[in-house]
Amino acid sequence: MVEFLSFRDGEATQEPSVTVEAFTGQTNSTAVRIEAGEDARELLPHLDRLSLVEVNFPAYGDGRGYSAARILRESGYQGELRAVGDVLVDQIVAMRRCGFDSFHPAKPLDDDAVDRALNRYADVYQKAIDGRTPVWAKRHPETTNG
Amino acid sequence: MKILTGNDLVSGDVIWWAGDGWSRQVGDSADVGERGDDLARTEEAALRVVGAYVIDATVSDDGVRPAHIKDRIRALGPTVRPDLMLKPNDADAGNWVI
C-alpha cells in the first residue's frame, strides 16, 4: 500500500503547512494548506516563497481542489502541489492533469491499482497542466506545434 | 413487523431476508425485529446483498405486505408490465400494490 506518492525529483517538503490566513499574515512560512472553498488566488502574490501547497479534499466528491490546483499552476507556481484527504486511486490521473505532483491520501492506495490507473489512458481530450498533448493537437500537428 | 430488503449484488434482483437466507418472494420475509441493521451490515460485507434497508410491513392471511407503495412495487415489479411481475397470472396484483 502507498501512504505517500510523489512525482517530484528529490525529497518531499517536510515543513508543516499553515492555513491560508496564517500564511498570508506572516512572511516566514513556505508551506500552506488550502481548504475546500478557500480562494487559491490569495496565494498568487506569494508564489515565489512557497515550496509546498497542500490542497485538502474533505470528500472525494468535492472537486474545488482541482480548480485550485490549476489556478496555481496556470499562474506559474513550480513548487510541490500535494493532494491530501479523501483522495481515491481513480482520481489520481485527473489530479495529475490539474497539476498535483504529490499525494497524501487519508487511506493508503493500492500500488497495483495506482500503476494501472496511471497507465490506463494513452490519450486525453483536453489541454491541461501536465503537458500531455491532447488528441486535437495530435490530429493537427501542423497547426498546433504538437 | 420489520423486514429487510435489498438487491442481489450480482444480479441486481430485489431480495427479501427470509430468516436463513435471501428470497425473491416478499412472502418469505422474516420479521427481523431489531436485528435488521446488523443483518444488513453482515450480509453486505458477505457480498450477498447491496443497498439493504429495513422497512415496516404487515402480515395477514394474504401474506407479507410492505407498508409503503414503493416497496410493494419493488416486491412485485413494474405495475405497467404485468408480464414481468412476480405474479403474472394474478389479476389482483395491481390492487395489492395500491
Partner: protein, 543 residues
C-alpha cells in the same frame, strides 16, 4: 455522422477495461458499495427500484442503423427485451446484471458508443435538435459543436466532481426543439458578419427550482468556445453551492449572485483562460464538420405523396415534417402508442427502426427529448412503404405534439427516487383522449409528467404539466399550466390542490373543455392560457 478515429476508440476501449477492473474489484469485495458507487455512476450504472439500470449515451441524439441495431441486440441479450428512450435523448436498460455491465459496454464500444458520464456530477451527454442538419431554419448544423463539446467534456480533469450534474444543449435555429434554455448551459448558433458563433445562455434548469437561462454572451466565436466554457465551469466549480444538493445546480449560483455578477466573473476568468491555448484549432472543428456534411441526396425526386389510404394520409399530416432538400421528408416515429409506455421500445421495434434507417434514411436516425424517434432523410416516394412497416410493428401512432404524445419519466414503476407512478397516468390520459378527432381538435398540446420533483418528465415545461407527490404514502398529482420548452420558453404555474390519478385526468378534461370554448382563431391551448391567465382555468377545475 461522426466516426471515431483510433484516438476516440482507444479512449472508449480503455474505459471499458477500467470499468471491467472496477466491477471485478466490487464483485470480489475489494471495493465497498460506497467506493464503487461513484465509479459505476460515471459509467451510467444505477441501482434502481428493481435492479441495476444502465443509461447509454446517445450523443446529441444521433444514431446509425448499426448502432441502433446494437441497442436492440443488447436489449434482447442482456435485458428483458426492451429499452426506454429518455428525455435526455439517451437509452436506459432496466434489468441489467452487474456482472454483465462490462460486456455490454464492450459491445457498445464496437459500434462507437459508451455510457460515459451519463450520471454523476459531471458534464452529461450533450443534447441537440433532432432536426439538426435537415431543418431549413438552422444557420449551421449544431452537431459538430456538440461533438467538439462531447470530446472536451469527456474525462475533463477539472470538471468531473462539480457541485451537481451539468447539462449542455446546442441548437442552431430560432425554432427550439430541445428545450435549450432549460439547460445548465444552452448554446444557440448564430451568424454574424458571415461567421458562426454561439449565443450562450447559463443557469437554466428544471428540478425543484426551475429557471429559464438568461443570455450571458451574445456571440462566442467557434475558436474560443472551449476556453469560454472552461471559464463558465470554473466559476461554477469554485462557487456553486455544495452544502445542499438541492441548491447545487448552476441556476442557483447565477440566481443568488445575479446574472451580471456571474457574467463578470466568467469574463474575468475568460480573459485569463483564453491565453492558455485551451482551444482546439479551427481545423479540428472543420475535421468534425466534414463528418456531418450533407449526405448524397438524390435529385429530381417526385414531391408527390399518394394519399389514397386515409390512415396513411392522417399519419403523413401528423408525423412528417419538411426537409430542406426537395423530394425528401423527415419522419417522426411515435413511441407513444395509446396503451403503451412512453419512450419504451421492444428489441424487435428497435431492430426494425434500425433497418428502416438503413434502407430509407441514409443510415441515420435521431432520438428526441420528447421520447420519440426520427428518420431524418426519407424520400417522399418511400413514405408509404415505411408507414406500412411501422403500422405492422405498432409504431404508426399519429399523435406528434398532440395530447396523447405524453412525455413521462419512468416514475415509481421503475425509479427509486419517484413518489408516484407516471406511466399509468399517461396511459389513462391517452385513453381518455384517444379519439383521433378529439386529439386533432385540441391541436398542439404538450403534456409532461414527472414522478418526482427532479422533473425528468419536464413537467415545468408542459403546456399541461403533472408532478407526482407522495401524500402520506398515497400517490397524489399536482397540475400546472402554461409551461413551454420551445423557443417561447416558460415555466408552468400550479393550479392549486393536487388530485388522485383519476382526478387529474378529469381536471385535464375541464381545462381542455374551457380551451375549446374560449379559444380564438388559430390559438393553441398554450396561447389561450397565456391570453386568459390562470383564473378561468382554476375556476373550471375547482369550481
Amino acid at each position: 455522422m461522426y466516426r471515431y478515429d483510433s484516438y476516440d476508440q482507444s479512449i472508449v476501449d480503455a474505459r471499458v477495461e477500467e470499468f471491467r477492473d472496477q466491477v471485478q474489484r466490487r464483485l470480489t469485495g475489494a471495493l465497498t458499495e460506497d467506493q464503487f458507487k461513484p465509479l459505476r455512476l460515471m459509467n451510467g450504472l444505477y441501482l434502481q427500484l428493481h435492479a441495476y439500470m444502465l443509461r447509454v449515451a446517445i450523443p446529441y441524439g444521433t444514431l446509425s442503423g448499426k448502432q441502433m441495431r446494437k441497442l436492440g441486440e443488447i436489449a434482447a441479450k442482456y435485458d428483458k427485451g426492451y429499452g426506454h428512450f429518455t428525455t435526455r435523448q439517451n437509452l436506459q436498460y432496466n434489468w441489467i446484471k452487474l456482472a454483465d455491465a462490462p460486456d455490454i459496454l464492450a459491445e457498445l464500444a464496437t459500434v462507437e458508443m459508451h455510457a460515459i458520464q451519463t450520471s454523476g456530477n459531471c458534464i452529461r451527454n450533450i443534447s441537440s435538435d433532432q432536426y439538426a442538419g435537415v431543418s431549413a431554419d438552422e444557420v449551421a448544423d449544431p452537431r459538430p459543436w456538440a461533438e467538439l463539446l462531447r470530446q472536451w467534456s469527456s474525462f475533463h480533469p477539472e470538471f468531473t466532481y462539480l457541485p451537481r450534474k451539468f447539462k449542455i444543449c446546442v441548437i442552431a435555429g430560432d425554432d427550439d426543439r430541445a428545450a435549450m434554455k432549460l439547460h445548465d448551459i444552452g448554446l444557440k448558433l448564430v451568424e454574424r458578419d458571415g461567421k458562426i458563433g454561439a449565443e450562450v445562455y447559463a443557469g437554466g434548469g428544471m428540478g425543484r427550482t426551475p429557471m429559464v437561462a438568461p443570455l450571458i454572451n451574445d456571440f462566442m466565436p467557434e475558436d474560443e468556445i472551449i476556453s469560454y466554457l472552461e471559464a463558465c465551469l470554473r466559476v461554477y466549480n469554485r462557487y456553486g453551492r455544495r452544502d445542499n444538493k438541492y441548491k447545487a445546480r448552476i441556476k442557483i449560483l447565477v440566481h443568488e449572485i445575479g446574472v451580471e455578477e456571474y457574467k463578470r466573473q466568467v469574463e474575468e476568468e475568460f480573459a485569463h483562460m483564453r491565453t492558455l491555448g485551451l482551444n482546439p484549432p479551427v481545423e479540428e472543428l472543420d475535421r468534425i464538420r466534414a463528418f456531418f456534411a450533407p449526405p448524397a441526396y438524390d435529385t429530381g425526386l417526385s414531391e408527390d405523396i399518394d394519399r389514397a389510404d386515409p390512415a396513411f394520409a392522417l399519419w403523413v399530416d401528423r408525423q412528417v415534417a419538411a426537409h430542406k432538400v426537395p423530394g425528401y421528408a423527415i419522419v417522426n416515429i411515435s413511441l407513444k402508442p395509446l396503451t403503451g409506455i412512453p419512450g419504451d421500445a421492444s428489441a424487435e421495434q428497435i431492430e426494425l427502426v434500425a433497418t428502416l434507417a438503413e434502407q430509407y434514411s441514409l443510415d441515420e436516425l435521431r432520438v428526441t427529448h420528447a421520447q420519440n424517434l426520427v428518420l431524418p432523410h426519407v424520400k417522399k416516394a418511400d413514405l408509404y412503404a415505411i408507414w406500412q412497416k411501422l403500422e405492422e410493428a405498432g409504431l404508426a401512432e399519429a399523435n406528434l405534439d398532440l395530447i396523447t404524445d405524453i412525455i413521462a419519466c419512468p416514475g415509481l414503476d421503475y425509479c427509486a427516487l419517484a413518489n408516484a407512478r407516471s406511466i399509468p397516468l399517461a396511459q389513462k390520459i391517452a385513453q381518455r383522449f384517444a379519439a383521433a378527432e378529439r386529439q386533432a381538435e385540441l391541436g398542439e398540446l404538450k403534456v409532461k409528467i414527472s414522478g418526482c420533483i427532479n422533473a425528468c418528465g419536464h413537467h415545468h415545461a408542459g403546456h399541461i404539466g403533472i408532478l407526482g407527490v407522495d401524500r402520506r404514502g398515497v400517490e397524489n398529482f399536482q397540475l400546472s399550466l402554461g409551461g413551454s420548452g420551445a423557443e417561447d420558453t416558460s415555466l408552468g404555474q400550479i393550479t392549486g390542490p393536487g388530485f388522485s390519478e383519476d382526478g387529474v385526468v378529469d381536471a385535464i378534461e375541464k381545462v381542455t373543455d374551457l380551451y375549446l370554448a374560449e379559444r380564438e382563431s388559430g390559438e393553441r391551448f398554450l396561447d389561450t392560457y397565456r391570453r386568459l391567465g390562470m383564473k378561468p382555468f382554476k375556476e373550471a377545475i375547482y369550481g
